[in-house]
C-alpha cells in the first residue's frame, strides 16, 4: 500500500488552492499554445520558464505549471489539426490525416470530442503507467542501443509507404525530400557541417516547427491569396457539440492499443511523441478491415494518433525523471527546469524527493481531468479562437507563428526559411505531393542515420551487429513485414470489395 500512501502524499502537495489554480491556468495556456501553429509544447514551456522564475514559484508549483502547459499543449495541438489542417505542433501531425477530412464532412465537433476523449485516455493511462511502472520501465531504456533504435526507425520508415493510399510514388518522393532536409546541419559523428553552405544559421539543422508551419500554414496563405479566399480550407463551421457515443465506443480498443504503442515510444528516450503517434496510426491502419477509409475521415484515424501522442507525452516523463534523459524537446526543457530548481533527476529521484515526484504525478492526474473538461464540454471556447473570419484568422496565425518562431532564435533567418518552406509547400500541394511524409522524413532521417552510424562505429563496421539482440531482430521482422505486407494485402483485400464477389 506504499503506492496509496505515496499518492496521498502527492495529492496533499498538489491539492492546494495555489497549485490547483496554476494547474488550471497552465492547462488553459497550454491548450492555446498547442492549438496555435508555431507555438508548440517545447517553446511554450521554454517561453514560460522565465515567468515561473519571476513569480517566485517553489519547485512543486513550477513543475505543476510547466507540466500542465506541456499536457495542455499536447491536447491543444489537435484543435488546429482538425479545424485548419495545420498541425499545432509536430506530434499533432498525424491527426490532420483523418481529423481534417472529418471536419470537412461537417463532423468537426465529433472529431474534436472524440480526439479529446482519446487524448484523455492516452494521457491518463500513461500517467497511471508512470506511477506504477516508472522505476521498472527505466530499465527498458538500457536495452535499447544504436542497433535497436536503428531497427525501430527502420520500422517506422518501412511503414511510411502505407501512409498514402492514393499515390505511393509521390509519398515516397516527399519522404525522400524530407530525408534530404534532415541531413542539413552539423554531422554528429564527424563533427563537420553538411549542406550548410557556410551559413551559421543552418548549423543546427532545420527546426521541425519551422518546416511544419511553413509547409502547412504559410502555404495555406498562398492558396488563400491565389483563390481570393474562396478555396481556403479555413472556415470550417462547427455545429452543436454533441458526444459521438458510437464513435467513442467503436474506438475504445483503438485508443487502448494506441496508448500502449505511444507509451512505449515515449518511454524510449530515442523515440518520442511524434514517433508514438505515427506508429499508433500506422498500427491501427494495418490491422483495420477498412484501410481505404483511413485518410478520408475515419474516426479511428483521429482517435489513434491522439491517444498515441498523449500517451507518449506521459511516457516521455519516465526516462526524464528516472534517467535524466529527455525523450523529447519538451522534456529536455522540463529537465533543464528541474536542474535549475536543484532537483537532480536520476534513478534515486523517486526515493530522494518523493514529494516532488508524487506531487508531480498527482498534479498530472488533476491536469488530465481539467483538460478533459476544457477540451470536451468547453472545447467551443478554443474553437472560437480559430473560428473568426479567415481574412482575419490567417494573418493572425501568421503573426503568432512568426512571432513564436522568432522568439526562439531571435533571428530573421528562420522566418525567411519558413517562408521558403511555405513556397515549397504551395508547389508540392499544387503537384498533389503530400506534405506529411516530408515532415516524417525530417523527423526520422537524422535519428535513423545517427543510430546506424553509431552502431557501425561500435562494431567496427560489422553489419551483423545490427541483428545482435532479440529486440533488434524482432523489430527487423516487423519492419520487413510492414514493408511487404501492404503489397500483398492490397491485392488480397481488393477482391472482396468487388461488388460481384461471393463474399
Amino acid at each position: 500500500m506504499d503506492l496509496l500512501a505515496n499518492l496521498t502524499q502527492g495529492f496533499a502537495v498538489a491539492l492546494t488552492w495555489s497549485t490547483l489554480l496554476l494547474a488550471v491556468a497552465g492547462c488553459f495556456a497550454g491548450t492555446i499554445i498547442g492549438s496555435l501553429p508555431g507555438l508548440g509544447p517545447s517553446n511554450g514551456v521554454a517561453i514560460l520558464i522565465p515567468l515561473a522564475f519571476s513569480l517566485g514559484l517553489d519547485a512543486t508549483e513550477a513543475l505543476v505549471l510547466m507540466t500542465s502547459v506541456y499536457y495542455g499543449a499536447m491536447y491543444g495541438g489537435r484543435i488546429s489539426s482538425i479545424l485548419l489542417n495545420i498541425p499545432g505542433d509536430e506530434p499533432a501531425l498525424m491527426t490532420t490525416l483523418d481529423g481534417f477530412p472529418m471536419a470537412r464532412q461537417g463532423r468537426a465537433a465529433d472529431a474534436l470530442v472524440l480526439s479529446g476523449v482519446a487524448s484523455f485516455v492516452g494521457a491518463f493511462l500513461a500517467t497511471v503507467g508512470l506511477m506504477l511502472l516508472a522505476p521498472v520501465l527505466a530499465r527498458v531504456a538500457y536495452l535499447f542501443g544504436p542497433s535497436e533504435y536503428f531497427a525501430l526507425y527502420l520500422l517506422a520508415f518501412c511503414t511510411l509507404g502505407g501512409l498514402s493510399s492514393r499515390n505511393q510514388v509521390k509519398a515516397a518522393l516527399a519522404a525522400v525530400t524530407g530525408l534530404g532536409i534532415a541531413m542539413i546541419g552539423l554531422d554528429n559523428q564527424t563533427g563537420l557541417p553538411r549542406l550548410t553552405f557556410g551559413e551559421l544559421h543552418l548549423m543546427d539543422g532545420v527546426d521541425f516547427l519551422v518546416a511544419i508551419v511553413g509547409l502547412f500554414a504559410v502555404s495555406e496563405i498562398f492558396f488563400f491569396i491565389e483563390s481570393h479566399g474562396k478555396e481556403s480550407a479555413i472556415g470550417v463551421k462547427l455545429g452543436r457539440i454533441t458526444i459521438p457515443v458510437k464513435d467513442i465506443v467503436d474506438s475504445i480498443w483503438t485508443m487502448l492499443r494506441a496508448t500502449v504503442i505511444g507509451f512505449i515510444a515515449g518511454v524510449l528516450p530515442g523515440a518520442g511523441a511524434s514517433l508514438g503517434s505515427f506508429l499508433a496510426y500506422m498500427g491501427e491502419k494495418a490491422i483495420s478491415r477498412d484501410q481505404e477509409t483511413f485518410g478520408t475521415g475515419n474516426p479511428r484515424g483521429v482517435a489513434a494518433p491522439e491517444a498515441g501522442n498523449n500517451a507518449a507525452a506521459g511516457g516521455a516523463l519516465v526516462p526524464m525523471l528516472t534517467l535524466g534523459v529527455p525523450g523529447s524537446g519538451t522534456t529536455a526543457v522540463l529537465l533543464a527546469l528541474l536542474l535549475t530548481l536543484n532537483i537532480t533527476p536520476g534513478p534515486t529521484l523517486f526515493s530522494d524527493r518523493p514529494e516532488v515526484v508524487w506531487g508531480l504525478i498527482a498534479s498530472l492526474l488533476i491536469a488530465n481531468f481539467v483538460l478533459l473538461i476544457m477540451n470536451v464540454p468547453l472545447v467551443r471556447l478554443f474553437v472560437h479562437i480559430l473560428s473568426v473570419p479567415a481574412w482575419l484568422l490567417l494573418p493572425g496565425i501568421m503573426l503568432v507563428a512568426y512571432g513564436g518562431v522568432y522568439s526562439l532564435s531571435g533571428s530573421s533567418f528562420d522566418l525567411i526559411l519558413m517562408t521558403a518552406f511555405g513556397l515549397f509547400g504551395y508547389i508540392f500541394r499544387k503537384l498533389d505531393v503530400p506534405t506529411v511524409p516530408i515532415i516524417l522524413g525530417i523527423l526520422l532521417g537524422n535519428n535513423m542515420e545517427d543510430n546506424l552510424r553509431r552502431a557501425m562505429i561500435i562494431s567496427d563496421g560489422d553489419w551483423t551487429y545490427l541483428f545482435s539482440s532479440g529486440i533488434a531482430v524482432g523489430l527487423w521482422i516487423a519492419a520487413i513485414a510492414g514493408f511487404v505486407a501492404p503489397i500483398f494485402l492490397r491485392q488480397f483485400l481488393r477482391k472482396p470489395s468487388q461488388p460481384d464477389s461471393n463474399a
Partner: protein, 322 residues
C-alpha cells in the same frame, strides 16, 4: 469573439517579446534556449550581480540560440561591438568551437573574454560492473586495442567530451587519435544510459551529468579531470593522482564586445570577480555541482589561448579541421 482572439494574440505577443531586454538595463545574452548551461550562467550571475549591488538594475537575460552559440557571437561582433552594457555567457564549448572554426570564420580575438568563475569538472565514467577498475586500466585497454573500447559522450565528434578522452590518451603515450572509437549522443544522460546498458564501455562528460547515477550505484567515476579532488566527491580520484596529467573542466564564464572602453571592461571584470567572491555564488555552485574555478581578466585570456591552441592541435589530428 474577435475581442477574445485579439486578447489571446496580445498575450501571446507579450509573452514572446517579454524576453527581449529593455535598452537601459545591462543585458546578458544566453546563446541558447532557456534552461541550458548558458542560460543558467546568465540568470545566476546576472541575479547575483544585482543582489550584491554591483549593478543597479536587474540584468536582463536574452536567449539567442543557434549555431551552437555562433549566432550570438556574430550578433555581438557585427552589431553590438561597442555596447558597454552587454555581457554574453560562454563555456568550454565556446572556446572549442572557436578553435575549430565552427563559427563561420570568426575568431576568439573578435570579442574580449572576461573570465570564468566556476567549472563543471570533466569525468570518465564506467558501469558499476565494468572490468576497468581505474583510469589506467581503461586507458591501457584503449591503447592496446582501440577497437575494444567505445567512448560515449554528449557532444559531437570533435566536441569537448571527445577531446578530453584524446587528451588523456595522449598523456599515456597513445597518439593514433583517429583509431579511438567515440560516439556522439544527444546528451550526457543518453551517453550514461548507453554505458549502463553495456552498448558502450565508457562515458565522457561533466560531473553534474552523473550525480544522480552515482548515488544509485549504477556507475563508477574512474577519474575527474581537476587539479584537486572535488569537495563533496572526495572518494573520486583525479586523473593527475593516477599519473595522467590532464585538467579538463567545462568552465562557465562571460565575454564582452571587443570595442568597449577599457573602463567598461574593468568595470565588468571587477563585477565578475565580486560575484566569484560572494557567498551567494558559493551556494549556487554547491547546488549545481560546480567546482570553484576563478580566472578573471588577463589570467583568463592566457588560459584560454592555451586551451584554444591545444584544441586546434588535436582537432587537426582527428580531422575536424584541416
Amino acid at each position: 469573439m474577435t475581442s477574445r482572439f485579439t486578447r489571446t494574440l496580445a498575450v501571446a505577443i507579450l509573452s514572446s517579446t517579454a524576453m527581449v531586454g529593455s535598452a537601459f538595463a545591462a543585458e546578458c545574452i544566453a546563446p541558447a534556449n532557456p534552461g541550458g548551461g548558458w542560460d543558467f550562467t546568465c540568470r545566476s550571475i546576472g541575479k547575483i550581480m544585482h543582489d550584491i549591488g554591483v549593478v543597479d538594475k536587474p540584468v536582463q537575460v536574452t536567449n539567442m540560440s543557434g549555431g551552437g552559440g555562433g549566432l550570438a557571437f556574430s550578433h555581438v561582433v557585427n552589431e553590438r561591438n561597442d555596447d558597454g552594457e552587454l555581457i554574453v555567457a560562454a563555456s568550454s564549448a565556446t572556446a572549442t568551437r572557436l578553435a575549430q572554426n565552427a563559427y563561420g570564420g570568426m575568431t576568439a580575438d573578435q570579442v574580449s573574454f572576461l573570465g570564468a568563475i566556476g567549472a563543471d569538472p570533466g569525468v570518465l565514467v564506467v558501469a558499476a560492473d565494468s572490468e576497468f577498475a581505474n583510469l589506467n586500466d581503461l586507458l591501457d585497454a584503449a591503447k592496446s586495442d582501440p577497437s575494444s573500447v567505445t567512448f560515449a559522450g554528449g557532444s559531437a565528434t570533435g566536441g569537448f567530451d571527445h577531446l578530453k578522452v584524446l587528451m588523456a590518451l595522449r598523456e599515456v603515450g597513445f597518439t593514433d587519435v583517429r583509431s579511438v572509437k567515440y560516439v556522439g549522443l544527444d546528451g550526457g544522460g543518453d551517453a550514461l544510459t548507453s554505458v549502463i546498458g553495456g552498448h558502450t564501455q565508457a562515458m565522457t562528460g561533466d560531473i553534474s551529468e552523473v550525480v544522480g547515477f552515482l548515488k544509485s550505484g549504477d556507475v563508477r567515476v574512474v577519474a575527474v579531470f581537476t587539479e584537486n579532488r572535488i569537495p563533496g566527491f572526495d572518494d573520486i580520484p583525479t586523473a593527475m593522482e593516477q599519473g595522467v596529467n590532464v585538467v579538463a573542466v567545462n568552465w562557465r564564464g562571460l565575454y564582452v564586445p571587443k570595442g568597449i572602453s577599457q573602463a567598461d571592461y574593468d568595470r565588468w571584470s571587477d563585477a565578475l570577480a565580486q560575484v566569484a567572491a560572494s557567498d551567494e555564488w558559493a551556494e549556487t555552485m554547491a547546488a549545481n555541482g560546480l567546482a570553484p574555478f576563478t580566472k578573471v581578466g588577463a589570467e583568463f585570456q592566457d588560459y584560454l589561448a592555451g586551451v584554444i591552441n591545444d584544441v586546434q592541435m588535436l582537432s587537426r589530428e582527428i580531422g575536424v579541421i584541416q
